[in-house]
């Protein structure tokens, strides 16, 4: 019976279309001081932000590329557009969004999703957010949901207090790059005790070839508040590389909770190099639900710094790597306070020659007593062409720690396939059921609409992958 023969990878990537460019502004290719100053000037920014960008550029230029993780040799920083502004307008209704761009988001199903089940939507096209809307009742409760550029202008005190404090520019080369050329992204503030029960969503779309998208997201969840933020990403299929290098900073204050869900489905020419980090204060909860399906290379390790007693961190992720893809993803949990707990559940699927890597770190310093951590990494490899690695780091200095770690690597077993087939289920369907069962713990954490979409995407990836 055997799994996965050659994979007829004429996979249809549904989002690979692109629009003609008729843009307001497009920076020249390459990156230097002038380009950074131009971006800042275009945005009419305060001096402190321009200084922040220029300082970050210096750090970026000095820092070497990481030598671990994925192969970055296909990335040419000189052959890239760092800032592309497609339109002058930013709509609060879809009618205000230029027709071609609106059509694109229609094809991606965003306005429809907004009508059905979202409390607020941001849509970013290239470098700028082109649509932004939040339900009025939330606005009245003091919830802020705007693009980060707007936040710099309208909420300077809040932004200044937190911007760059969770992920400083010096953190890594790509965090420095983002800090220098960032544009767009979401800024969310949820006041004390306010619970946003319906998700807020941002959608990121790259359209231009050789485009770099550098959104910057900052979320502050005040004491006892709750928000669920969902982001989706797609891009056209081009033969040359695009870069998506976001920075996401989250602060969850005492007793607050933030859930951040990503379904990344970039086309396979996109380098997805993202720094996502949260700080969880006393009794706060931070949950990263992270799905990585597309891209050429993803390097992403959502982190939680547990700085207050009894804070909780969770990362639940899936990665799917098909032909030519490498998903180097994982999680980082730093238990800086006593009695903090963390859970990392990582599921990966590789097929058609794809490669998945789990790379994770759990750190418990000596002073953090009574901490708990559980790490589970399960890799499913569908054929002999594909590979998976697990690289878990544990730095445990405290004595009184409950630590669990489990890692499994499996193939779809002949026994499982035979069992399902012996009930009349065809082989391809049986294999899909097993894979969908494998990702079920992740799927269950998604809002229903995304769960359906995830199933559909996995089915699409598996088309023709079973002999």
């Amino acid at each position: 019976m055997g799994m996965a023969k050659e994979l007829g990878l004429d996979l249809e990537y549904k989002y690979g279309f692109h629009d003609p460019e008729n843009y307001t502004f497009k920076s020249r290719k390459g990156l230097d001081r002038r380009v950074v100053e131009e971006i800042s000037w275009m945005k009419n920014e305060p001096d402190w932000m321009r200084e922040f960008r220029l300082k970050s550029l210096e750090i970026f230029l000095k820092k070497p590329l990481p030598t671990w993780g994925g192969d970055l040799s296909g990335l040419n920083f000189d052959d890239m557009y760092y800032y592309v502004k497609a339109t002058e307008k930013k709509g609060r209704s879809w009618d205000e969004v230029p027709e071609t761009i609106k059509k694109t988001f229609d094809r991606l199903g965003i306005p429809e999703a907004e009508r059905k089940f979202l409390a607020g939507v941001a849509a970013q096209y290239e470098s700028e957010v082109v649509y932004h809307k939040i339900r009025e009742d939330l606005e009245r409760q003091g919830v802020i949901f705007v693009d980060t550029d707007t936040a710099v202008r309208e909420y300077p005190d809040l932004v200044k207090e937190y911007f760059g404090t969770v992920v400083p520019p010096s953190d890594n080369k790509f965090a420095a790059l983002n800090s220098a050329v960032w544009s767009g992204g979401s800024f969310i503030y949820v006041p004390k005790g306010v619970r946003v029960e319906i998700p807020l969503q941002a959608y990121f779309r790259i359209n231009t070839e050789n485009m770099g998208q550098f959104e910057r997201t900052l979320i502050i969840v005040d004491e006892g508040a709750f928000v669920h933020y969902v982001e989706g990403c797609t891009a056209p299929t081009y033969s040359s590389a695009s870069l998506h290098s976001a920075v996401v900073e989250i602060i969850v204050k005492k007793g607050g909770r933030c859930r951040y869900t990503t379904i990344q489905n970039w086309s396979t020419n996109v380098y997805n190099l993202v720094t996502k980090r949260a700080i969880a204060h006393e009794e706060a909860t931070m949950e990263w639900i992270d799905g990585n399906l597309g891209s050429k290379l993803t390097m992403k390790y959502p982190s939680v710094f547990l700085v207050g007693r009894k804070a909780k961190g969770e990362v639940l992720s899936i990665a799917l790597a098909n032909k030519g893809q490498h998903q180097d993803a994982g999680a980082k949990m730093v238990h800086s306070a006593p009695e903090t707990s963390s859970t990392i559940t990582s599921k990966s699927i590789s097929l058609g020659g794809g490669r998945t890597t789990y790379r994770g770190l759990v750190r418990v310093p000596k002073t953090s007593y009574g901490c708990k951590s559980r790490v589970e990494c399960d890799a499913l490899i569908l054929d002999d062409l594909s590979a998976s690695d697990t690289i878990p780091y544990m730095e445990i200095e405290a004595d009184d720690v409950t630590m669990e770690h489990e890692a499994t690597v499996s193939k779809i077993s002949d026994e499982q396939l035979f069992y399902l087939m012996s009930r009349g289920i065809k082989e391809e369907q049986a294999a899909k059921m097993i894979v969908q069962g494998f990702v079920e713990p992740f799927r269950k954490a998604l809002p229903m609409e995304y769960a359906i979409e995830l199933n559909r995407l996995i089915e699409l990836e598996m088309e023709g992958s079973v002999g």
Binding site: E415, F418, Y419, I425
Partner: protein
Amino acid sequence: MAVPKLVIENLQAEVEGTPILKGVDLEVKGGEVHAIMGPNGAGKSTLAFTLAGHPRYQVTGGRVTLNGEDVLAMSPDERARAGLFLAFQYPSEVPGVTVANFLRTALNELRGEEIPARDFLKLLHEKMDILQMDRAFANRYLNEGFSGGEKKRNEMLQLAVLQPKIAILDETDSGLDIDAVRVVAESVNRLRGPELGVIVITHYSRILRYLVPDYVHIMFGGRIVRSGGRELADKLEESGYNWLRRELGLEEVEEEVAPDVR
């Protein structure tokens, strides 16, 4: 509906180059219950897996037909759709796939059309009640963390829901306490009728007290060496297999522990 008929003629099969089945002949019709008994290593489970089409079992000779159709030419899923069912001794765990989802998918495949959710649930609950299963069981992941008894009941639930023409029960009684054996046997008894033929593969005669066979066959060395009525099972229970070894001119061995004392 025509009464189903499974015909096995001179079936030979090997596992990784080792011949196990050396010419099995058997005919099973709807309404009949056949018990196949025999000591460990006789080839009983090999017969079950070969009939279901497990890829590890290579057929080297003989014929199998179900209502005249060539079973050996079919893939495992085609055999199931033709009406063959194997209740596994050690069913696989499939994490993340619920019992209900699995059964509904299978039933849709067997029927060739979508069964409405409400009709399916009604059918499922009716069968679960008969098997004295908690309805919450339907939402558990297939065989994951099931006790031995739960696994066997789950196999019987599938049998009841999928309604095959020929059911092969491979050591369904093993590892069960006597009450569970009775529940399992009675669930099969309820399904007995001209539309279902049953092959019960068992090491022990215990289950046959509740699931009374019409025919008993004894397998030895990859062949059926004796066939008779239920009295054959009684004789095995009383005297073990050594009388048969003597008759066959084989060396006697120390008998395994008496089965019913647990």
